[in-house]
Symmetry: C5
Subunit: 276 residues, 5 copies
């Protein structure tokens, strides 16, 4: 950002006082370079938004499948106290999964809820959310034996687990796939080209106007690109992030309601985003 302003000032003064002051480049050419840049930025903006939106859609699916998982477990287990106990255990574990996924995507230290869960379970893993799905799977195997569960029902619950596993993998994909750097390089290069051409096209203007314009216009492009950069990585602990902690809290409360337990989290109205 700062580098760009310096460059703009430099280019502008060069144009005036340097040996290049007789040179003038038609504005049509400059505005044509701007059109190319605009189209590249439009592509960039739209792809970044797609990533951000996909992240949100995936977490929407996590909300739905979490509810469905617990509802199915409750529905398919025998309608007894033991069956309900299994459902409650699934609900608690699924709540932990949501927090664990959010935290590992943001590469944060795990919260107390998650670490105490793993301490209790006596297992550990580099990929904690995946380990929790394995625990779900083991618990399902145990419940199948205990209650002689019909295979159809076991398969249906397993299918929901597979969908959760899919959502987890999609988050990892978005997190780990770098947006092709070549496009950033091209866009930056075009902004510099534009900044170099611009002063030569404004020859006949007053110096003040010329300098303001050579600063404002590239700044606009930079702003658009920065916004795209913020949007494209939605799991980086930034205000534009997918609100994973918020969602995890809401999910956990709903899961508790499904199995007839009181809510465990207090939901605050979302504020962070608007501050931006």
């Amino acid at each position: 950002m700062l580098a760009i302003i310096c460059y703009a000032l430099l280019a502008g003064s060069f144009d005036h006082y340097g040996i290049l002051s007789q040179v003038s480049i038609p504005l049509a050419l400059t505005s044509f370079a701007g059109t190319v840049l605009s189209l590249l930025l439009a592509f960039r903006t739209s792809q970044s938004y797609e990533r951000w939106w996909e992240a949100r859609v995936v977490w929407g699916a996590i909300v739905n499948d979490s509810r469905t998982l617990v509802r199915q477990v409750k529905l398919f287990m025998p309608q007894t106290a033991e069956g309900l106990a299994v459902a409650k255990e699934f609900a608690r574990r699924q709540g932990v999964w949501c927090f664990a996924l959010g935290e590992s995507l943001r590469k944060l230290d795990h919260s107390d809820k998650v670490t105490s869960y793993f301490a209790k379970s006596g297992t550990d893993s580099g990929n904690k959310p995946n380990m929790i799905i394995n625990h779900h799977s083991d618990a399902l195997a145990a419940a199948t034996e205990q209650f002689k569960l019909d295979p159809n029902k076991q398969v249906q619950i397993d299918a929901t687990l597979a969908r959760l596993c899919d959502s987890m993998g999609k988050c990892e994909r978005i997190k780990n796939t770098v947006f092709p750097r070549a496009y950033s390089v091209l866009i930056h290069f075009l902004i510099y080209v534009l900044m170099t051409l611009l002063p030569f096209g404004l020859e006949d203007q007053s110096k003040l106007v010329e300098i303001s314009l050579t600063i404002i216009i590239p700044a606009l492009f930079i702003a658009i690109e920065q916004t795209a950069i913020l949007m494209q990585d939605p799991f980086e602990n930034r205000p534009t992030d997918t609100p994973m902690t918020q969602l995890a809290k809401t999910i956990e409360n709903t899961l508790m309601e499904i199995v007839g337990e009181p809510p465990v989290n207090q939901i605050e109205p979302p504020v962070s985003y608007f501050i931006m």
Copy 2:
């Protein structure tokens, strides 16, 4: 809106009478800023439309799955009076669900139909539509025990419930996800930049023409952006909304027809949208 007209007048008069009257900025530059703005607006318009259309698609899926749910319950229950009674109960409950979902998305007070349903059922929840799906699930568990339902059939009805739960979650996602404010800010900023540049590019025109143009052109951009804002939040109790009440009424009538009951709602031809 008003602020913008004032700003335009101010910028225009400054240009004429102020110390800046010798300054002129080439129109090519202005129209180039306009191209950037156009591309951003095209992106904005298209994303808002996608949200609006997705909302409509989700409610279309709710129509279909509601019908399918009741049809399946009727088909899979024993073809007796008791089986039909269960199907009728599902149909009624599903009708309430549609209204409850629409009202909670619009953050309206719940209608009599919904409140009386919850009064009768003796339960309550912050997320009423989700609670009704739990009731469906409980009723399915009860019917499975009562009629010794084949697990295959139970699983199939459960899959339809899972799809309804998905649609509900998608509506919540659209409702709760704020469109990235950064883009609105950028667009507003670009409109102001354009308004400031425009008068300097029209120097040699008559004052009247200049002022009209500096008002009309930004007004056009504002109008396009406002339309996008209206479209992007389709559950806000506005004429451009997804017609959820209308759809809920139609769904309820069709459900009643499937279980052989007379229609309960009178459908009026949709008028609201055209008034806009």
Copy 3:
């Protein structure tokens, strides 16, 4: 259309003989307004095409699911004369469904085939295609009892019925969702603005050329928008429609072939569209 030509002539003559004849608006500004309009039209064109194509895709799915339904019924029923009779009945009913859906989407009077089907069945409904799916469902329930059908197979046929129900709901959604009028209004307004600005930018041309241009250019935009309007509602009994009658005939013949019956419709080569 005519209104627009009149307006163009009016605006053109005003420009020449009226008090505004000294006024001239730079062409760059006009062509910039045209860029905004082009982007809006590009959005409009692309969304209308999407609707048209989606309608075609949905009817493609109806073709496939109709075939699959009858094939499944034939496959899952016992391989006896009675089983085949059920499949034939399904084939006939599904044929009627295709015609009923096409006709009710176009809001036409129902054809003899459909009315005689409902006369025979002794039922009636405001939503005839949905009623026929209910009949399918009832026939499936009856066949299940008669042949002690395995629940797995019943569920599979039911899933195909659910897909047909989905396709029906998608057609209804496309039919009943008005394309946001706000965009039409904006586009029309922009065309008028363009027509008003255009003559002032062509000041130095001969009168004849000026008038032809102020007519031809807006006419082009109108033509593009009209095409979009034709495409966006693909069930309106127009030559650009989804060819539903043609498709229904083809479907019915194929269904008859599957159950070993002779074709019932004569397929004519599609001609209507090319006339346009």
Copy 4:
């Protein structure tokens, strides 16, 4: 193409020698008409590419589902010589299906492989690929009775047949849906308008340059549109086609490998496309 060059020459000479030689139309207007045309062409190009790509995706799905079908039949039949014989029969029939589908989409005469299959089976149909799926279905019914196949497995194989039926229907949809002619007409009209306007905007150029430009620029647009036309119909026996014969051969070899038979086709490296 030729007509257009003639028209360009005519328009150009008219401009020079005719009575219109005093008329000059600003180039800004011409280039603005060109922008509209570009956007329409961009839309056209992108939609044609989508159709071409969808055709390729559908054939990709056919590859996958063919493999899956034979693998499933082999897996679900008893692991005996008789079970394997059924799988081999399915593999051979599925190979024929791929060829039959490709040939009927291209409206070619059927190859020996297909005609000899139908001669042997003693059946015939106007829609040969659909008839082969019916044969699959009949063979599945027979095998179910012979081996007392579990309904679950039968249903799973049937689901793969339904997906193949879907892919077939999608190919038919792409084949039979004409791209809306209105857009071609608009594009051609715009090219003519552009060619008429262009010479008047180049008044002050040498005659040679003017004529070359009035030929080259419309020729470019025509070339872009022609490419779109080639892409939009991917089953027309042209070098840009989906390589269906090549794919059918590969599929058949893989199917043979799955059931433990030697390959039946020699695959040549694809060359046709690069010749273009």
Copy 5:
């Protein structure tokens, strides 16, 4: 690239010293040709990115389905040492599959892991990944007989195999489908046209500026197109590739964790891409 610079120099000098030095082509026309080129490049860029992203999505699905496969095998086999042995065998085989797929897509020699697997199994195939899926299928058939597996469970595992088979087919489709060459040809042709027109529009500039511009601007377009070419084929052993080896290693470690084995690969932080 070099050819283009030479051409630019040639065209530039021709313009100055040749007989064409009186000819001048308006810059508006040139920038209009540039607009067409920009739109084609925008289309090209966006389609290439789609292919690259689809490749990444498919490998994301492979990650998920690999985990799901092993988890399901472990869940559905009896919870005994023998059951676990089968799951371990599946985990190992699935690990090999990931490497085999990556290597055959890149047309590399197979690694030791893969060749030793095939040496042990005593089979071979031109399409190694497909052969491994067949081995999965055979092992599933054997386990079904050994443990009297419920058909429901067998079918569910088979469905996961079918999804893996789909992902494999999608990779092959992306690998084998050449991006339509016609568009590359058009884009190159347009770049040459632009380079030829450009010097004639810059007549009144200093020679140095003119030559730099005629080199820089086409170079930009070439750079954008080259980036698109790199992105469109994501399995070519280039730094912009889908990181298949990295992914295969991660998958194998996770699979080992699921069946309770120690990790077999050391994961290095991804570096290659950033070098670009």
